[in-house]
Symmetry: none
């Protein structure tokens, strides 16, 4: 049993692996402002070479590098593993218990920006392969890994990389290793991701801001923007734009069946307690609430600003107002098509003056529950974590999964080894030494199980 | 003719007066954040003492100082002049052609925050009195001046000062010297001011901000606030709160007659060109538009903020949103009563969770067109500016005029010497050396004319 051998190996070299993880965490790679991204890609390349990968660093103009690695075995099957080495900005710094790029360990907890999202996932893949190498073993499947450096800014260039290297990326299935464990310590598996249309709407009503005494005569940009916004969405969250739901193909019967098996009560109770909620916006509970969470297209105001927002009294009539909106999309909505619907809607409602700027497009993705890779990951999860994995037919979040499912035509599972409630995107993000070491086993087990599944 | 003597004097000392004005402009006095206010009051006291006033600086707890001055002549009549030495915040700084507190002069234009609103008005009063002193003359009327330091934050403490110093402030009429010239260079006279109710509404929907993937479950505070805002006002500007218009007593027949005499075409054309407007929000033109401007109660969003408003993509679900609203009120609406109406409205519409914080209350004011002070100011305006003044039965703006009309029982005219379209409350606010020097003559002429009117 290769997995037992790797487990024994980890008893000997686990400490060394954890030190490598900490070095990786100490290297900033903040894609939002380009900080340390190149240095982090180089460091990752070295770790991968040490692990036994044949590595290439792909570079495209105006894009962060992709670190690509291959390891061929005698298998006829190939798995493509995706991850990202970039991290969110660490701010607000004052809320961190230790500096975000020092990777301070205390009681087995390693605190750092990127510890959970997603450097421990990346390193688990690298160290799984390194373990095979150290043991002189070959995995039961050919391995390709693609680590990008722009996931935290919406993967704006990954589609160009995937298009350019399409032939190199040929595989039989994909794993996006960028997730983690649920509050009870069970791996979560996502069989699809929501898409995204991120827009900025801007309204201008005059050449300059005005004294608010002119309110009877001059249109206030904030009021006008609010009137426009009010035509987009009902208070219950449903979207009022013509044709918005035309291409929605989920949930399927299979999706709903899968949903029934999920321990959604733990998920929902955790959310209510963390956010201090009496009830959910959608007005339903239990499985119906999870259904909304996973399959409802959303129109979220991520930010709005106009006029004077400092302390005290200022009586200005703002001539300029803007709002950032993320629309999350479900299978098989198309962000490019829906951007046109949004523009048409604003025009039809008399808001043709409102400027629409699209900042990000992600298509939704879907992998059928019956796919062999789903089975392989499930078995691996049970094997390593000794509990039933939580298999979600879709994720409430978004990501570039569609590049694997739609562009490369692969079935794909999102999963990972981050610990529960690990403060991703927030201060005091952490992983644990246990979560990381188990992650190495999880990756190894996925490779073994996928290599052995007959299909 | 005292006025001719003052005019000759200005040829000699005008340059000195302008340098004093620039020094005054270089002293920040941003009441919204308390910046430089005390220093500015001290500087003003010195200017007034130099001018010949007997000066007192009145101080009350948690309030900016009032600088009060008296100058007694042998007249049986007393005029109370009001002004303010505080200024609006200068932001956005990047839109200024020269720093807001450097008072850079170019082609006779002096650019500074407060140049028009209202330090050149304050200084015109001071320099008018200084001119009498320099010439060894006495004005034809006793003079009391009250300069406050909180007008730009809605004069929250002036009523306490007026109440406490009621006896000292006894007079026969009031002039609020805080206005300016119309686009054709004619003084504008306002025979009443709108009132004000300034509120901040705040909505909170969760304990912390959430990842926007949770949008189906967690109420977005920005959306909820926008839904509430949408119940307050029609797109045409009318206010949808029960009972809002119950106490409106204007325009009267006299008001409308006065309005017909105003050169509103110049006013309206000036606004359209300055703000680059095709049409007015109210949907009407000519005298009907001026009627709206002067007598329509308004609900203006002065500022709104929620979520992430920096560059690029961030997918956050804000748990907190707030908006600043100024409601302008017309005679005889009561801001305290209407605050209750607003709270009742939000409750009735299901928004009882939205927190309402009132930041300012100003009652509307009204002075009859037939009052002697109106006649005195009109004659002075014709004398100094060689053109018919523009007498408006009401102002679109707000101020503490009600303290003079309602609390002290005086007739009161708002006027001033700021140049037309001088960017008050906006970047690149300015006055001109000509506007300032004429203002000194205007103040002098008002005092002479009011001293001589029989009533």
């Amino acid at each position: 049993m290769k997995l037992d051998e790797i487990k024994s190996l980890l008893d000997k070299v686990g400490e060394e692996y954890i030190e490598d993880l900490k070095d990786f965490l100490r290297q900033p790679s903040i894609s939002a402002r380009g900080e340390g991204v190149d240095a982090c890609a180089s460091m990752l390349r070295e770790f991968m070479e040490k692990a036994g990968f044949r590595v290439e660093v792909w570079r495209m103009k105006d894009a962060n590098p992709v670190v690509y690695g291959e390891l061929y075995s005698s298998s006829s099957k190939t798995i493509l593993l995706y991850g990202h080495y970039d991290v969110q900005p660490p701010e607000p710094l004052e809320e961190w218990s230790s500096p975000p790029f020092e990777a301070v360990e205390s009681n087995g907890k390693i605190t750092a920006r990127g510890a959970a999202d997603s450097k421990s996932n990346v390193m688990a893949i690298v160290k799984a392969v390194e373990s095979y190498s150290k043991l002189g073993l070959a995995p039961s499947v050919n391995i390709k890994v693609l680590f990008e450096g722009e996931e935290e800014i919406g993967s704006p260039n990954l589609s160009r990389y995937v298009e350019a290297y399409k032939d190199r990326l040929k595989a039989d299935a994909a794993i996006c290793f960028d997730g983690g464990l649920d509050p009870k310590g069970r791996p979560e598996l996502w069989l699809g991701l929501k898409g995204m249309l991120y827009v900025e709407l801007r309204c201008r009503t005059a050449r300059v801001d005005a004294h608010s005494s002119l309110a009877p005569l001059i249109e206030n940009a904030a009021w006008r923007l609010i009137q426009a916004l009010n035509t987009l969405r009902s208070p219950d969250g449903s979207i009022l734009i013509d044709g918005w739901y035309d291409d929605v193909r989920v949930p399927t019967e299979d999706d709903l069946k899968l949903l029934e098996e999920v321990d959604y009560e733990t998920l929902l109770a955790g959310l209510k307690s963390h956010f201090n909620l009496d009830k959910f916006l959608c007005g339903v509970e239990r499985v119906e609430a999870v259904k909304k969470l996973l399959f409802q297209p959303t129109c979220n105001i991520a930010g709005i600003n106009a006029g004077y927002t400092g302390p005290g009294v200022k009586t200005v009539l703002p001539r300029d107002a803007y709002v950032k909106i993320d629309f999350r999309l479900v299978y098989d909505q198309n962000p490019y098509k829906l951007l046109e619907n949004l523009k048409k809607h604003l025009k039809a409602k008399g808001f043709e003056d409102i400027e629409v700027k699209a900042l990000n497009f992600l298509e939704p993705s879907k992998t059928p529950p019956s796919a062999p890779i789903v089975r392989a990951v499930s078995i691996a999860a049970s094997e390593v974590y000794q509990s039933k994995p939580q298999i979600y037919p879709n994720s409430p979040g978004s990501g570039p999964d569609y590049l694997f499912t739609k562009r490369l035509g692969l079935n794909s599972v999102w999963t990972g080894c981050a610990p529960p409630l690990s403060n991703a995107h927030a201060p005091n993000e952490y992983t644990t030494r246990d979560a990381f070491l188990k992650g190495i086993l999880f990756v190894s087990s996925i490779m073994e199980n996928y290599g052995c599944i007959e299909y």
